[in-house]
């Protein structure tokens, strides 16, 4: 049975695209058929991330200008560039399939205009539902991973509604508590009542490295500062969980090497021994058990 997971956030820049891409590729590596959909229709980024120029986009599908086969790109061969943990050539047992949103300004305007008219809006929604159903039936997908638009927008809500699991991604270095609470109460609550599972996915958490100058200024030991920071963060997260009524599925530390890598690309596959790869594997195991 296909599991549909939507990555959502209140604000942009929380790592949805990076994590969803790494998750999808890692699922394929494990032998699953993973279909990654870029439904961040207002600011699509996966074409750039995968350096892939699709002939047809999800926009074309929604406007009935393309069939499902033209929209879903088989990127499994991309995975062969990577080696496995022991240095051997990586062989994907599964499939990585990706549907991209159009990056054309005119196409984005057109889609935005179409959803402002009730007649065409319902046509768009119908096609969006068909997109999910055709992926399930035509590709026998194990996972559909949706990278949504941030905030409360038409396409992000539709994405959340067709998902079985929602991962609300937020950066611990700048939590918008009010926005997160708004999403949890106003949107997720009505979905979870009907069976959708929702979790917090914390990004840029403390605990990967210890800034040396911090210990000098405080005059304490590195270990003590480290533990204080982790402790404080733990308190914040516990309060957040209680406040929004959602559990944390995963906490991903702020990995400086990823954060400041201008060409981050499927780190979980590129560096299979990196702790980030371990986090993605943990996420897969948790998703499998939901």
């Amino acid at each position: 049975m296909t599991k549909c997971v939507a990555f959502h956030s209140y604000k942009g820049g929380t790592g949805k695209s990076t994590i969803s891409s790494n998750l999808s590729a890692s699922l394929a590596k494990r032998g699953f058929t993973a279909v990654l959909l870029d439904v961040d229709v207002y600011a699509p980024s996966l074409q750039d991330y995968f350096q892939w120029q699709p002939t047809k986009s999800i926009n074309d599908y929604l406007f009935e200008n393309a069939d499902i086969g033209e929209v879903i790109n088989d990127l499994t061969p991309v995975l062969s560039k990577f080696t496995s943990g022991n240095g051997e050539q990586f062989e994907s047992k599964g499939k990585l399939l990706v549907g991209f949103s159009s990056t054309s300004k005119d196409e984005i305007y057109k889609l935005d205009g179409a959803v402002r008219q009730e007649g065409s809006k319902i046509q768009m929604l119908r096609k969006f539902l068909m997109l999910r159903e055709e992926i399930v039936s035509n590709y026998n997908a194990d996972f559909i991973i949706i990278d949504t638009s941030p905030g409360i927008r038409y396409w992000s809500i539709n994405s959340l509604a067709i998902a079985d699991t929602i991962l609300l991604s937020l950066k611990l270095d700048g939590i918008d508590l009010k926005g997160t609470r708004l999403l949890a109460k106003e949107i997720y609550e009505s979905l979870t009542k009907l069976g959708t599972k929702s979790y917090l996915l914390l990004n840029r958490a403390a605990g990967y490295c210890l800034p040396p100058n911090l210990t000098e200024q405080a005059g304490g030991s590195n270990q003590e500062m480290y533990e204080n920071t982790i402790g404080n963060q733990s308190t914040v997260v516990s309060k957040l969980n209680a406040d929004v009524g959602m559990d944390t599925i995963l906490s991903i530390p702020c990995y400086c090497d990823i954060q400041f890598d201008s060409n981050e690309f499927l780190t979980a596959l590129k560096f299979p021994n990196h702790p980030f790869a371990g986090k993605i594997n943990t996420l897969i195991e948790k998703l499998e058990n939901i």
Binding site: E118, G119, R126, A161, I162
Partner: protein, 503 residues
């Protein structure tokens, strides 16, 4: 109130739409021995059982033959069935006879007899219930439904002058409109062999059906085909049927009555399995939960605001070729004109670029529904006129090659329906409205219904110089609509007042 049913019709359009069509004029064509008389018998039998009163008109049948044909009718219904043979009817007016022994007085007398019969039925209801009024179409008629079957026009034109038969058919059509009832008119042959008569009568038929007969080995296979509904052609909707030993018609399993036209409250597509209901709305199984989620997130009103019945709003372009049914025009020339029109429309940018449109061929033109932009129909009309201008530089009116069209534009609601090929199609008031508007115009007119014109005028100032109000006009069924005309001197449209407006 009794319900009018057309045998097999729900198999063609689904139960939901079949239930809505309870009045109007239906044409049924069939090859000889196709089963049209038995279809008429079935129509009458079913509707008598539904509580309707029926009149069967047949100019080739004796009373004895009629009684033999309807020997299946239960005695309790027989008073509600009237048989009339216009050829045998007696008239009180003495008129010189034509060489074949009949005059149109017989048709007038038949019509009079129909009215008297209906008055008799309605007054018997008022007598027994609400009073003694003898007036035609009294309140009693509101409780009665009539089915009139004329079987067949083809035979009638062998006995009466064609023009007089056509007038008789028209009169029947008006009569059932007054009564909000139904008349079924049969013809032998098919739409091609009856083309001349059909061209003259096409505007009165609300539904056109055809019985198709195929000889397969020793078996005869019959199909009831839906050719058009309210002027919109249907893509090969058909239902097979057999004629049983007792003369009754048995249609193939009525798939539509189960679910064909249950429209999903979320995706608005027909539901082909047993629907699941939520808030009295039908849904696909896998959509009810998503609907509930969206309703929770967006709010109930915003999710369901397009209605539970699969109704959408669209803007429509309706075009037909002026004078295509002129008997002086050869079929070859007619085909040339239709192909030229199709080709020109197909090459218009607005047509090519419109991503969500529905095209319904209508024989002498087409209806195009644009789902996304109210501007598209007018833009297409302007482009088409510009293309016609170029095309007609090589034609002339004398040899009939000049291609003239009239165009009606309107916006409104339509149903989304699936045809038997599972192609999504649309029909409903929005299309019909565009046709009504088009019918008002003459060659070269681009006429717009009020609501569409007013939305364009509000949308962009550029329309103020080209879209002009003509005034109110009463169209079919007494409906009054505001009509605008789009024109620009020597570029597109026809700036003259339509002849129908003047009259």
């Amino acid at each position: 109130m009794p319900e009018v049913r057309v045998p097999g019709f729900s198999s063609l359009v689904g139960q939901a739409i079949s239930d809505k069509i309870t009045s109007g004029t239906i044409l049924l064509t069939s090859p000889p021995a196709g089963g049209k008389t038995l279809f008429c018998r079935q129509m009458i039998t079913e509707n008598l059982q539904n509580g309707c009163n029926c009149i069967y008109i047949n100019s080739s049948m004796t009373r004895k033959e009629y009684e033999s044909l309807f020997n299946n009718i239960n005695d309790k219904y027989i008073k509600k069935l009237k048989f009339l043979n216009p050829y045998l009817i007696t008239t009180s007016i003495k008129e010189p006879e034509t060489p074949i022994g009949v005059t149109d007085n017989k048709l007038s007398a038949t019509l009079e007899e129909i009215r008297n019969t209906i008055n008799g039925w309605s007054s018997s209801v008022t007598d027994s219930g609400q009073g003694t009024s003898q007036e035609f179409a009294s309140t009693a008629n509101e409780a009665l439904k009539y089915v009139i079957v004329l079987d067949s026009v083809t035979h009638m034109v062998t006995l009466f002058e064609e023009d007089k038969v056509l007038k008789f058919v028209n009169a029947l059509s008006f009569l059932v409109k007054e009564l909000e009832s139904m008349v079924v008119i049969t013809m032998s042959g098919n739409l091609v062999t009856n083309e001349t008569i059909l061209n003259k009568l096409s505007s009165i038929f609300d539904i056109v059906l055809e019985i198709e007969v195929q000889q397969v080995s020793e078996n005869v296979k019959r199909k009831l085909k839906l050719i058009s509904v309210k002027g919109a052609s249907s893509k090969s909707a058909s239902a097979s049927f057999t004629i049983e030993q007792d003369g009754s018609l048995k249609f193939e399993a009525d798939i539509s009555s189960k679910s064909k036209l249950s429209i999903c409250g979320l995706c608005k597509a027909p539901i082909l399995e047993e629907p699941e209901y939520y808030l009295d709305m039908p849904f696909h199984h896998n959509h009810v939960n998503i609907y509930m989620k969206l309703a929770g997130a967006f709010g109930q009103a915003r999710v369901s605001d397009v209605g539970p019945s699969g109704v959408i709003d669209a803007a429509f372009f309706f075009v037909d070729v002026v004078g295509l049914s002129d008997p002086a025009l050869s079929v070859r020339r007619q085909i040339e004109k239709i192909e030229a029109l199709n080709d020109m429309i197909g090459h218009c940018d607005t047509f090519k670029k419109a991503s969500d449109k529905r095209v319904l061929p209508t024989g002498d033109g087409m209806a195009i529904g644009f789902m996304l932009s109210p501007e598209s129909p007018l833009q297409l009309a302007i482009e088409l006129h510009q293309a016609l201008k170029k095309y007609n530089t090589h034609t002339n009116k004398q040899d009939g090659s000049f291609l003239d069209v009239r165009i009606g534009l309107a916006s409104g609601s339509v149903f989304i329906v699936n045809d038997v090929n599972s192609n999504q199609n649309i029909w409903g008031p929005g299309i019909i409205f565009a046709r009504r508007v088009m019918d008002v115009g003459d060659g070269g007119h681009i006429l717009l219904a009020g609501p569409l014109a007013e939305s364009l005028l509000a949308l962009d100032d550029k329309y103020r110089s080209i879209v002009h109000l003509l005034g109110d006009f009463q169209v079919k069924h007494g409906q009054i609509i505001k009509i605008y005309s789009a024109s620009s001197l020597n570029e597109f449209g026809n700036s003259t007042i339509p002849a129908k407006f003047k009259s």
